[in-house]
C-alpha cells in the first residue's frame, strides 16, 4: 500500500496542457510538445520543493492548515518574489470551468467598484487578542467546566452504547486508564482490557464530585420547583452544559421515578416539568441518551397515553402534555431508532394496540393517536387514515348520543380535532383535488365533511405561501421547530388548572396558533410560562417536591429510615405496581402484564457520601428492564457479555 502511495507521489505532475494554457496566458503562442514536457516536469518539481518549505513554516507557525502566507514565506526563502493577491484566510477560492474541450481552474477576480467600497461602512474591528485562564486540571482531575471538553464526546458515547464490543481506540483506552488511576480504580482493569482475550466493557465508576452533587441537587430542585425563572435557567443549563455526561444516569432515574410517582398523584404540573427536562436533555449536544432510553421512553410514553394525568380531567389541560410528550417520543424515535433496537416499530405497535382496543378511554386514545401522528405522515397514512371512519363513528356516538359524561365528550372533541389537524395535511397531499364533501363523507364517514373543509383550508394555505406550508408540514414531522410553540401552548394550558381564570379549556385555542405561527421565537413562550407560574403558585398544594411526594406515596416507595436522614436515599421497587405506571392498565391486558421485578433501585439524591451508593448505582443501567413496555417491546440493551456478568444481582 505504501508502495502504491509512493508511486503516486513519484508520478504526480502538472499536465502538459496546463503548460500550454499558461504559456498562452503570457503570450507565447505555439509551445512545442517537448518543451511542454520539460517545463511541466521542472515546474512540478519546483512546486513540490516550495510546498515542502511551506510545510516547514506551517509547522513552526504551530498550525495544521497550510496558508497562503506559508507559501509566500517559502518563496521568499528562495528569493522569489511572493505571489500577491492571495490573502484568503481560509481557502483559496479556485473555481472550475470547462469549455472548448479544456478544463481550467481559475481564481475569480471580481470587478470592484471603488465607490461601493468607499461608501460601505467600515467592517467591525476584529476582536483583539486576549488571554483567559482556566483550570485544565485540579490535582490531576479535569474539572467539568465549559472551558474543558466534555469527558466523553457524543460520538464516543454513541459508539459505546451502540457498539460496545468495538475495539477501543487508543486515545480512549488511555483516557480510561487515566480515569481509572485518578479515580482510584485498579490499574488491572486497564490492563485486562488491553490484553485480555475476552474484551470486557470497562466498568465505569459513577462517582460524582461534591460540586456535581450540589449541581444535581440545585438543578433537580429548580426543575420541579415553583420558580419559573429558576426552572428556565436550570433547563437551559441541562440543554447546554457539556459536563453532564456523568450525571446522566441520575437524571434519567430522576425523571423516570418522578413520572412514576406523579402519574399516580395526577400531578400534571410536575409531569410537564419532567417532560421539559427530557426535552432539555435531548437538546444537549454533548449527550447521547441511547443508554438511558429504557428509563426515559417508558416515562414519556406514560405521559402520552396515561388514562389520567391530572386531578380534574374535565378542566385541566393534560392534552398539551400528551402532545408535547408525543413530540418527544417522535424525536427520540428519529434519533435513536436503529435496526437493532427497533424503537419506532415497537412504539408504533404498542400505541396501535391500545388504540385498537374498544375499551380504551378517550384520554389514552388521544395519546395514542397523537403519538402515532407525530411519527410522521407515513405513519398517519398507513395507520390512522384507514381507521378514520371507525373513529369517526365512535366520536359521533359520544357527541350525538346521550350525555354520558362530560369527560367523554371533551375527550371525543379533542380526538376529533387532533385527527382533523393531523390528517388534513396528509390527505391534502395524497388526494387529488376536487374536494367533494360527499366523497369525503363516504370515504371517511362522520369526520368527512369536517376533514374536507380542513383539507381545503390546507390547500389554500399551501397555494398562498408555499414556503409557509412547507414549514408547517415541517412542524408536524419535526418536533424541534415546534418546541417553542408547544411550550407556549403547554404552559398556557397548564394555566387553566385554576378554573377561575379560564372556564373551559378549548382545544381549538390551543391548536389554532400552530399552523399559523410556524416556529415562533421563544419570548412569547416565556411570557406564557410566567402565567403558568402564577397558576401553579395558586395551587401550591399540588406542587410538591419529588422527595416529599415520594415519601407521601406509601404505595410505591418507602423511605429507608436506616440509611441516613442526611442523604435522602429513596428506595423504590420498580415495577411493583403496574397501575401506577400506566393508568390505562386496567383496560389493556397486554400492556399491563406486570412483572414485579424484585430489583432495587437506588435513587441518589445529592449526598455528600456518594461512595456508599457507588456500587449499586453502577448496576442501574443493566438491572432495570423497563416495566410497562415490556410486553410489546423488550428493551434490550446492547451489552457486552462481560458487562452483564459483572452486575451483581
Amino acid at each position: 500500500m505504501a508502495e502504491e502511495r509512493r508511486q503516486k507521489q513519484c508520478s504526480v505532475g502538472l499536465p502538459t496542457e496546463s503548460m500550454k494554457a499558461m504559456a498562452e496566458s503570457v503570450g507565447v503562442g505555439q509551445l512545442q510538445e517537448e518543451s511542454c514536457v520539460a517545463l511541466s516536469e521542472e515546474v512540478s518539481y519546483r512546486i513540490k520543493e516550495i510546498a515542502q518549505d511551506a510545510l516547514k513554516f506551517m509547522h513552526h507557525g504551530k498550525r495544521r492548515k497550510l496558508t497562503t502566507s506559508d507559501i509566500d514565506n517559502a518563496l521568499k526563502l528562495k528569493n522569489v518574489e511572493p505571489l500577491f493577491g492571495f490573502q484568503s484566510q481560509e481557502f483559496i477560492p479556485f473555481r472550475f470551468a470547462s469549455g472548448g474541450g479544456r478544463e481550467l481552474h481559475f481564481y475569480e477576480e471580481r470587478e470592484v467598484d471603488l465607490s461601493d467600497i468607499i461608501n460601505t461602512p467600515l467592517p467591525r474591528v476584529p476582536l483583539d487578542v486576549s488571554l483567559k485562564a482556566h483550570w485544565l486540571s485540579i490535582e490531576g482531575v479535569e474539572p467539568s467546566i465549559p472551558e474543558n471538553p466534555p469527558p466523553a464526546t457524543k460520538e464516543q458515547q454513541k459508539v459505546e452504547s451502540t457498539e460496545p464490543l468495538k475495539v477501543v481506540k487508543p486515545g480512549q483506552e488511555e483516557e480510561a486508564t487515566i480515569q481509572g488511576k485518578s479515580q482510584g480504580a485498579t490499574a488491572a482493569d486497564g490492563k485486562g482490557k488491553e490484553k485480555g482475550l475476552i474484551r470486557l466493557k470497562p466498568r465505569s465508576t459513577h462517582e460524582l464530585s461534591v460540586e456535581q452533587q450540589l449541581y444535581y441537587k440545585e438543578i433537580t430542585e429548580a426543575c420541579v420547583g415553583s420558580c419559573e425563572a429558576k426552572r428556565a435557567e436550570a433547563l437551559q443549563s441541562i440543554a447546554t452544559d457539556p459536563g453532564l455526561y456523568q450525571m446522566l444516569p441520575r437524571f434519567s432515574t430522576f425523571i423516570s421515578e418522578g413520572v412514576r410517582v406523579n402519574v399516580v398523584q395526577n400531578n400534571l404540573a410536575l409531569l410537564i416539568y419532567l417532560m421539559r427536562m427530557v426535552k432539555a436533555l435531548m437538546d444537549n449536544p454533548t449527550l447521547y441518551l441511547e443508554k438511558y432510553l429504557h428509563e426515559l421512553i417508558p416515562a414519556v410514553v406514560t405521559c402520552i397515553v396515561s388514562k389520567q394525568l391530572c386531578l380534574r380531567p374535565d378542566v385541566d389541560n393534560h392534552w398539551a402534555l400528551r402532545d408535547f410528550a408525543a413530540r418527544l417520543m417522535a424525536q427520540s424515535c428519529k434519533t435513536f431508532s436503529t435496526t437493532t433496537n427497533n424503537i419506532q416499530s415497537r412504539i408504533t405497535k404498542t400505541l396501535t394496540k391500545s388504540w385498537l382496543d374498544e375499551k380504551t378511554q378517550w384520554t389514552t386514545r388521544y395519546g395514542c393517536i397523537a403519538g402515532l401522528a407525530e411519527l410522521g405522515p407515513d405513519v398517519i397514512k398507513t395507520l390512522i387514515l384507514p381507521r378514520l371512519t371507525i373513529e369517526g363513528a365512535r366520536i359521533k356516538a359520544v357527541m350525538d348520543g346521550p350525555v354520558v359524561s362530560n369527560i367523554d365528550k371533551i375527550g371525543a372533541d379533542h380526538v376529533q380535532s387532533l385527527l382533523l389537524k393531523h390528517c388534513a395535511s396528509v390527505i391534502a397531499k395524497i388526494r387529488p383535488q376536487p374536494d367533494n364533501v360527499e366523497q369525503y363523507r363516504t370515504d371517511y364517514g362522520y369526520l368527512g365533511p369536517m376533514l374536507c373543509s380542513h383539507v381545503m383550508k390546507a390547500r389554500t394555505q399551501a397555494a398562498l405561501q408555499a414556503q409557509q406550508v412547507n414549514r408547517t408540514t415541517l412542524t408536524i414531522t419535526q418536533p424541534r421547530p415546534t418546541l417553542s410553540v408547544s411550550q407556549s401552548g403547554l404552559s398556557g394550558s397548564s394555566g387553566p388548572r385554576t378554573p377561575s381564570i379560564i372556564k373551559v379549556p378549548s382545544s381549538l385555542t390551543l391548536m389554532s396558533p400552530r399552523p399559523g405561527t410556524p416556529s415562533q421565537p421563544s419570548p412569547p413562550a416565556t411570557k406564557y410560562i410566567v402565567m403558568a407560574t402564577s397558576a401553579g403558585a395558586a395551587s401550591t398544594q399540588q406542587v410538591i417536591t419529588l422527595s416529599s411526594s415520594q415519601s407521601a406515596s406509601s404505595v410505591t416507595s418507602t423511605v429507608p429510615s436506616a440509611s441516613s436522614n442526611l442523604q435522602p436515599l429513596v428506595k423504590l421497587e420498580s415495577g411493583s405496581g403496574p397501575g401506577l405506571t400506566l393508568t390505562q392498565s386496567g383496560s389493556g391486558p397486554g400492556l399491563t402484564a406486570s412483572r414485579p421485578l424484585q430489583k432495587y433501585i437506588v435513587v441518589s439524591l445529592p449526598s455528600s457520601a456518594s461512595s456508599s451508593l457507588e456500587p449499586k448505582s453502577s448496576v442501574l443501567p443493566t438491572s432495570i428492564s423497563s416495566t410497562q413496555l415490556d410486553t410489546g417491546m423488550k428493551m434490550e440493551r446492547s451489552e457486552s457479555p462481560g458487562a452483564s456478568t459483572q452486575s451483581p444481582h
Partner: protein, 751 residues
C-alpha cells in the same frame, strides 16, 4: 536555496560561510573577527578566558583537513576583498603568510582546494563544503564550469555502471540479506536505505531517468516507514538538474551515513560482496557510508529502530564519548533572611516546617562541588546584581512552599488560552517567576501580559527621570510611570512571523526571533527594542536565554545555531553541523552547554566554551520541535513531529526511554521543578504528564552496557503516563512550572 539562485552570492558578507565540520568536530568560526568568547560582562579584565579557545584553534588547525578548510575560507575572504579578516584569521590559525598563495597556486592545477574555495563562494549559505567530501575519493575534477556545485558534491557519482544492473545488484544484496542468519539480518538491513538512496542518485545523476524511476518504484516500498519524508523528496527528484541545490541530496552527499554494525555482520557482508565481485555496491559502501564496527552481539531490530531515523544515520559512538560536565553550578551563597517567613509558615499546617531541614541539608550538599559540575569559571558568567540576589531569595522562599509531586500527587494545571488569535500565535514564554507571559504572533507582533495583578509600566521619560530624587529608597518605584500602567503591551519591530521568544532570567529583557532573520532584544522597562541581532539571513526558528542571563542562543533555517552575548552585535560562536534547519535551541541549566534540535531528526549538545559538538542523539523520526533539560542537568527530553517524547541521559549519551501517546507534533516539554514529572503539550490538544522519576529510576537498575552503547527500551509508556488532559481544540504550545510546581500551559483557541 542560494544555490538555486546562483547569482546572489557574493554580495553577502563573510558571516555567511558555513563550514562543514569535518566530522562533527570542533570547527569554530569565531565570527571571523578574531574575537573569541568575549570578556566577562562587567569586567574587562578576563581576557584570559580567550586563551583556551584560541589555543584549540591553533592546535586543531594542525590536521591537514582542517587546514584545508581554513584555506578555503581564506581564499573566499580574499576573493571578496576582506583583507583584514584574512589577516586576522591567518594569524589566529597560525598559518604562514605564503601558504595560501602556494596552496592556491597548487590547487588550481589539481582543481582540488580551488574548486572548493570557489564553490564555497557560490554555494554560500546552503552548500556546506565538506572536507570529508574531499578526503575519501581521489578526485577527478570533472569540472563542467556551468555547474560547479553539483559536480563537487557529486563527483563521487562519476562512476558509470550499467544502469540495468543496479536493479540486479540491489535485489542480489536483498536476497543475500534475507537469507543470512536472523541475528545478522536486522543489522545488515540498515544498509538498505543508504544504498538505495545512493544508487538512485547515481542513476539520476547519470541521466538514466527511466531506470531511476523503475528502481525507485521497485524498492522504495521496502524502506523503513520513518524515512518516508525523505523518500518523498527523493521521488520528486528525477533529473540531474534537480540535484542542483536540493538540500536532501546535499545532505546525503556531504555527510557519510553512519551505520553501527557488529563485526561479525560486517565480515559477512564484506565477504559476500567480495565473492560476488559486486563492486558497485562495495564502492558506495566505501565512499558514502561510515560503518561503525563494534565487537559484541549484533543488535536486535528494535534496538536498531530506536536509534535510527535521522537524516544521516546514527551518531558515531566516539561522538558521544566526550565528558560532559552536566552538574549544576554551585549556587552563590546568599544569606536567607528567615524572619517574617516563620509566621507565615505556621499558618500552613506545618508543611514548610518539614521542608526546612531538608532545604538546609540540600544547601550543605551544594556547598560541596559536584564532581560532574563544570568549574565555576569555565565560562565567564555575569556577576549577580543586588536585584538578582533578591530574586534568588524570593526563589528560595517559594521553593520552601513547593508542592512535592508524584504519581499520587499530580500538579494542577492552569491553562492560559489566547482568544481571537486566529491561528496567529506562534510562540509563548513565561518568566521564571510566572509573573509575565509573552506571545509571539504571525502578524510580527510580540505581546506581553502581566498575569499577576501588578500592571506593566514603562520607565518615565529622560526629562522626568532627571527630576526624581535618586537617593530615595523607593527610587525603583519612582522611576516608573503610573500613567502607562496596563495589563498588556505590544512590541512592534519585526517584519515577519515571530517564531521564538524568551524572557531573560532577570525579567528585564525579552528576546524574539522571527522569520525576518533577526533576533531582537526588547527592554521590559521601556518596552522598546534595544538591539536587532542580524546574522541568520533566513528565518530564525528559536532563541533561548541562558539561565544565567547575558548569553543567548538562536537557531534557524541556515542550519546553524549561534551563541550571542547581549552586548555584542555579532555572534560569539557558530555551531554548525546539523544537516537541516535548527528548529529549537535550549540552554543547559549550568549555561556551559546548549542543545539544539533539528529537522535532520538529530539533537546535538554543544559546548559553549569551545563550540564542540559533544553529543549527538538520534532516534527521532521527525523534525524535533522542543527540548527540555531536567532541572538537575542530568537529562534531556525532546519532542518531535512524530508525537514521541524521548528521554536522554546526557552523561552517558544514551537514550533512556521513549514516551508514546501523543498523536501529533509535540510543541512543549517541561520538567517539574524537582524533576519528578515531565509535562508534554502537543498539537493534538492534550497535556500529558509522565512519571519522570520512574523513568530515571528504571534506568539506574539497568546495566549500562556503555561499551557498545546499546539500549534496551521497554515499552512502558503506558505505565509512565500519569495523566492526559484534553483541551477544547486548543493546541498546547507552551508549558511552565511555577516555582511552587503549579503547571501553567498556554495555547491559542482554534475555533
Amino acid at each position: 536555496m542560494a544555490a538555486v539562485q546562483g547569482g546572489l552570492v557574493d554580495a553577502d558578507n563573510e558571516k555567511d560561510i558555513k563550514t562543514e565540520p569535518p566530522s562533527d568536530g570542533w570547527v569554530n568560526n569565531n565570527a571571523n573577527d578574531g574575537k573569541v568568547l568575549s570578556a566577562s560582562p562587567g569586567s574587562s579584565a578576563t581576557a584570559g578566558s580567550n586563551k583556551p579557545a584560541a589555543a584549540t584553534t591553533a592546535t586543531a588547525a594542525g590536521t591537514p583537513e582542517d587546514q584545508q578548510t581554513l584555506l578555503a575560507v581564506l581564499q573566499f575572504l580574499r576573493k571578496n576583498n576582506l583583507s583584514e579578516s584574512v589577516e586576522i584569521l591567518r594569524r589566529e590559525a597560525g598559518l604562514p603568510e605564503n601558504s595560501l598563495e602556494a596552496k592556491a597556486g597548487d590547487s588550481s592545477g589539481t582543481g582540488d582546494a580551488d574548486t572548493d574555495a570557489g564553490d564555497s563562494s557560490s554555494l554560500l549559505s546552503r552548500v556546506t563544503v565538506s572536507s570529508s567530501a574531499r578526503a575519501p575519493s581521489p578526485k577527478k575534477a570533472t569540472a563542467g564550469e556551468d555547474q560547479p556545485d553539483v559536480n563537487v558534491v557529486l563527483s563521487a557519482y562519476s562512476q558509470q555502471g550499467d544502469p540495468a544492473l543496479y536493479d540486479v545488484y540491489y535485489s542480489g544484496l536483498k536476497k543475500f540479506i534475507e537469507t543470512v542468519l536472523d541475528c545478522h539480518r536486522a543489522e545488515l538491513s540498515q544498509v538498505f536505505y543508504p544504498l538505495f538512496v545512493h544508487m538512485y542518485l547515481e542513476l539520476v545523476y547519470n541521466n538514466h531517468e527511466s531506470e531511476a524511476k523503475a528502481f525507485f518504484g521497485k524498492f522504495s516500498g521496502d524502506q523503513e516507514c520513518y524515512y518516508e519524508d525523505d523518500l518523498r523528496i527523493l521521488s520528486s527528484l528525477s533529473k540531474k538538474e534537480h540535484m542542483r541545490g536540493n538540500e536532501t541530496l546535499l545532505d546525503f552527499r556531504t555527510s557519510k551515513f553512519v551505520l553501527r554494525i557488529s563485526r561479525d555482520s560486517y565480515q559477512l557482508l564484506k565477504r559476500h560482496l567480495q565473492e560476488r565481485q559486486n563492486n558497485q555496491i562495495w564502492n558506495i559502501i566505501q565512499e558514502h557510508l561510515y560503518i561503525d564496527i563494534f565487537d559484541g552481539i549484533p543488535r536486535s531490530k528494535s534496538q536498531i529502530d530506536a536509534m535510527s531515523g535521522s537524516l544521516a544515520g546514527e551518531g558515531r559512538r566516539e561522538a558521544n564519548k566526550t565528558k560532559v560536565y552536566y552538574g549544576l553550578l554551585k549556587e552563590p551563597e546568599i544569606e536567607l533572611p528567615l524572619d517574617d517567613e516563620d509566621e507565615e509558615a505556621e499558618n500552613e499546617e506545618g508543611k514548610p516546617k518539614k521542608k526546612k531541614p531538608k532545604k538546609d541539608s540540600m544547601g550543605s550538599k551544594s556547598k560541596k562541588q559536584d564532581p560532574n559540575a563544570p568549574s565555576q569559571t569555565r565560562i565567564p558568567l555575569p556577576e549577580l546584581k543586588d536585584s538578582d540576589k533578591l530574586d534568588k531569595i524570593m526563589y528560595m522562599k517559594e521553593a520552601t512552599k513547593r508542592i512535592r509531586l508524584g504519581p499520587d500527587n499530580l500538579p494542577s494545571i492552569c491553562f492560559y488560552t489566547f482568544l481571537n488569535a486566529y491561528q496567529g500565535l506562534t510562540a509563548v514564554d513565561f518568566t521564571d517567576d510566572s509573573s509575565l507571559i509573552a506571545g509571539g504572533f504571525a502578524d510580527s507582533t510580540v505581546r506581553v501580559w502581566s498575569i499577576t495583578p501588578k500592571k506593566l509600566r514603562k520607565v518615565k521619560s529622560a526629562a522626568d527621570l532627571n527630576v526624581i530624587d535618586k537617593e530615595s529608597d523607593d527610587v525603583l518605584e519612582r522611576i516608573m510611570d503610573e500613567k502607562t500602567a496596563s495589563e498588556s503591551k505590544i512590541l512592534y519591530g519585526h517584519s515577519g512571523p515571530v517564531y521564538g521568544i524568551s524572557f531573560s532570567p532577570d525579567r528585564n529583557y525579552l528576546l524574539s526571533s522571527s522569520e525576518d532573520g533577526t533576533v531582537r532584544l526588547w527592554s521590559l522597562l521601556t518596552f522598546t527594542c534595544l538591539v536587532g541581532y542580524k546574522g541568520h539571513n533566513y528565518p530564525v526558528w528559536d532563541t533561548h536565554f541562558s539561565p544565567h542571563g547575558y548569553y543567548f542562543v538562536s537557531g534557524g533555517h541556515d542550519r546553524v545555531a549561534r551563541l550571542w552575548a547581549t552586548d555584542h552585535y555579532q555572534p560569539l560562536r557558530i555551531f554548525s553541523g546539523h544537516l537541516a534547519d535548527v528548529t529549537c535551541t535550549r540552554f543547559h541549566p549550568n549555561s556551559n552547554y546548549l542543545a539544539t534540535g533539528s529537522s535532520d531528526r538529530t539533537i546535538r549538545l554543544w559546548d559553549v566554551l569551545n563550540g564542540n559538538c559533544v553529543r549527538i542523539f538520534t532516534g527521532h523520526k521527525g523534525p524535533i520541535h522542543t527540548l527540555a533539560f531536567s532541572p538537575n542537568g542530568k537529562f534531556l527530553a525532546s519532542g518531535a513531529t512524530d508525537g514521541r517524547v524521548l528521554l536522554w541521559d546526557i552523561g552517558h549519551g544514551l537514550m533512556i526511554t521513549e514516551l508514546k501517546g501523543h498523536t501529533d507534533t509535540i510543541y512543549s516539554l517541561k520538567f517539574s521543578r524537582d524533576s519528578e514529572i515531565l509535562a508534554s503539550g502537543s498539537m493534538d490538544n492534550t497535556v500529558r504528564l509522565w512519571d519522570a522519576t520512574k523513568a530515571f529510576d528504571d534506568l539506574e537498575t539497568d546495566d549500562f552496557t556503555a561499551a557498545t552503547g546499546h539500549i534496551h527500551l521497554q515499552d512502558n509508556s503506558l505505565e509512565l503516563l500519569l495523566g492526559t488532559y484534553m483541551t477544547k481544540s486548543t493546541p498546547v504550545i507552551h508549558l511552565h512550572f511555577t516555582r511552587r510546581n503549579l503547571l501553567l500551559a498556554a495555547g491559542a483557541y482554534n475555533p
